[in-house]
Amino acid sequence: MAGRAMWKGYIHFGDTSVPVKLHTAIKEERIQFHLLHKRDHVRLRQQMVCAYEKKPTPTEAQVKAFEVEEGKYIIVDPEELEQAAPESSRTIEVHEFVEIDQIDPIFFDRAYYLEPDASSREYNALVGALKEMEVEAVCTWTMRKRSYLGALQASGKILRLNTLRYADEVIPVKVLELQEVHKIPLSEKELKIGCDLVNQLAAPFQPEKFEDEHQKELRHLIEKKARGEKVVVARPKRLKPTTSDKLLEALEASLKKVA
C-alpha cells in the first residue's frame, strides 16, 4: 500500500491547477547490523569527539560551521539556516514539457506517487494528455524546507513525480580520463561478434526475475550461527581478465556457447 500522504500541493501550469497528495513509492528492506565491542559484544554508540580531548562532546557544546579554508570556519546558527530554507509553498510549478526518454537516467533520483486530492477531473485529464503526447513535465517544488527538481510523469492511471538530481551534482565522464582507452583500436570483427553476442543475450526487461538472494542466504547464515553450527568460509573468486590479445578468442568462444 502506498500508505499515508507525506505532502499536499497543486500542480500548476498555464491555467491548469491539479490538487494532489504525495506518497512514497519505494520501500527498502535490509538486514540491520550493529557495531559491537569485540571484547564484550556490547552495542556501541556513536558520539562526536573533539580532536583535542578525545572525549565525547555534549550536543550543547557542538556548533555547526562551514570550512572556508583549511582550518578556518564560519559558524552558522540554526536560525540562519532556517532563513536559508526556501519559502514554503504548495505549488509544483511546471516549467516545461519534454519528450519521454529525453531525460538521461543519471538524473533520476527518487519516485513518488501522486494521488488526486478532492476531485479527479483535472488529474485524469492531465494523465490522459501526458500519455497521448508522450511527454513528461519538468517542475520544481518545495517540501520539508528543501527545493526539489522533478519530472512529472503519467504511469498507468496515475501521476508520478520523480525527483531529479541537479546538473552540477552529476560528475561528467571526462573526469574519468578515459582518453587513452578510447584510442585503443577495435577490429570490425571484434565489434561484430560483440554486437551479435549482445543481441543473442537480449531479453525484455523483467525486473520480477531478480531477487535479493544474498539477503535470504545471509539470514540462513545468521540462523545457522545462532544455532551454534559451524560456518564454512568460502573465498570470493576473481576472474582472470580477458587481455586484448585474447579478446577475439573469448568473443568467438562466447558466441559458440550462446548460439
Binding site: Y52, E69, E70, K72
Partner: protein
Amino acid sequence: MSRKIVEISGKRLALSNLEKDLYPSYGFTKAHILEYYRRIAQFILPHLRDRALTLKRYPEGVEKEPFFEKRCPSHRPPWVKTAEIRLDDGEPMTMCLVDDLETLMWVANLASLELHVPLAKAASRETPDSVVFDLDPGDGANIIDCARVALILRDLFSQLRLSSYVKTSGKKGLHLYVPLNRKETTFEDTKTFAKAVAEIMQKNYPELVTARMAKKQRETKVFIDWSQNDSAKTMICVYSLRGGEKPVVSFPLAWEELEESVGQNDPEKLQVMYSEAVSKAEKNGDLFQDVIVKKQKLPHL
C-alpha cells in the same frame, strides 16, 4: 569622515578616516599607521614584493574583531598589481601584490595593520624561499625561552653550515628563518627538514621544547611549529605591525641582541615598538636582507 587625497609617484590615492584611533589604549591612529608604513617602506617592500598578500584588517581597531582578506578587494585602484592564485579547489583568486609605496599606502589605508605573506612567491607557489621555525611559547613559557631555543637552533644550523636569521613575531614568540632561495626546493623538503629538526630538539631538550601541537603538550614549553612550511600557510611579514594592544612590530634581531636579552632575562627587550623599529632599521639597515637573497641547500634531502 575626513578624506585626504594624496599623490604618490603620480598616482592618486584617497586616504580616509585618518584620525580613527586603531590602538585606542595607545592613541595610535590611522595617520600614525600610514606614517609608520611610509617610513618603513624601503625595508618592508623587498619582503612583500612578488608575494600574494593576505590582509588582516582591523577597521574598528585592535579591540574589535579583525578579518582576514585573501581576495584583493575589487574596489582597488587600477594600478594595484595582482596575481591570480589557484586555490586547492581549483578556483582562481585575485590577490594583491605590494611592490611599491603607493600600494603599501593603499593597503595601510584599509586598516590592514597586519601584512601576511607566504614563504613562496606568487609566480612559484610551490618553491619556498626559506625554511621557517615558528617558536611559540606555551602557557608558563615566554619569549626568553623562545630565544634559548632559537640560539640552540642557530648553533645546530651552523654545524650544518646553514646561516639562520631571527625576528620577533610581534606577539609572544620568535620566527627563525633559514634562507634557501633555490628553485629546486619544495615544501615537502622544507617540511620534512623542519619536522626532523623539531623532533630532534624535543628529544634533546624535552623540558624546553615540544614538536607537538596539542595544547596540553605545549604547557611551559616552546612549541616549534614546523607545519608553517606549507604552500597554503602565510607568515607575518617582517616589519609588519601586529594587531595587539600596542603598536608592536615583527622585527629582525641580531643574534647578539638575543644572547643579551637571555643573559639579562629581559623579555621586554624583545618587544619592538613602531618608533623604535623605524630608528633601528634606519640605523642598522635591513637585518633580514639575506633571508631573501642568500642561497643555501638543505642537507640530505
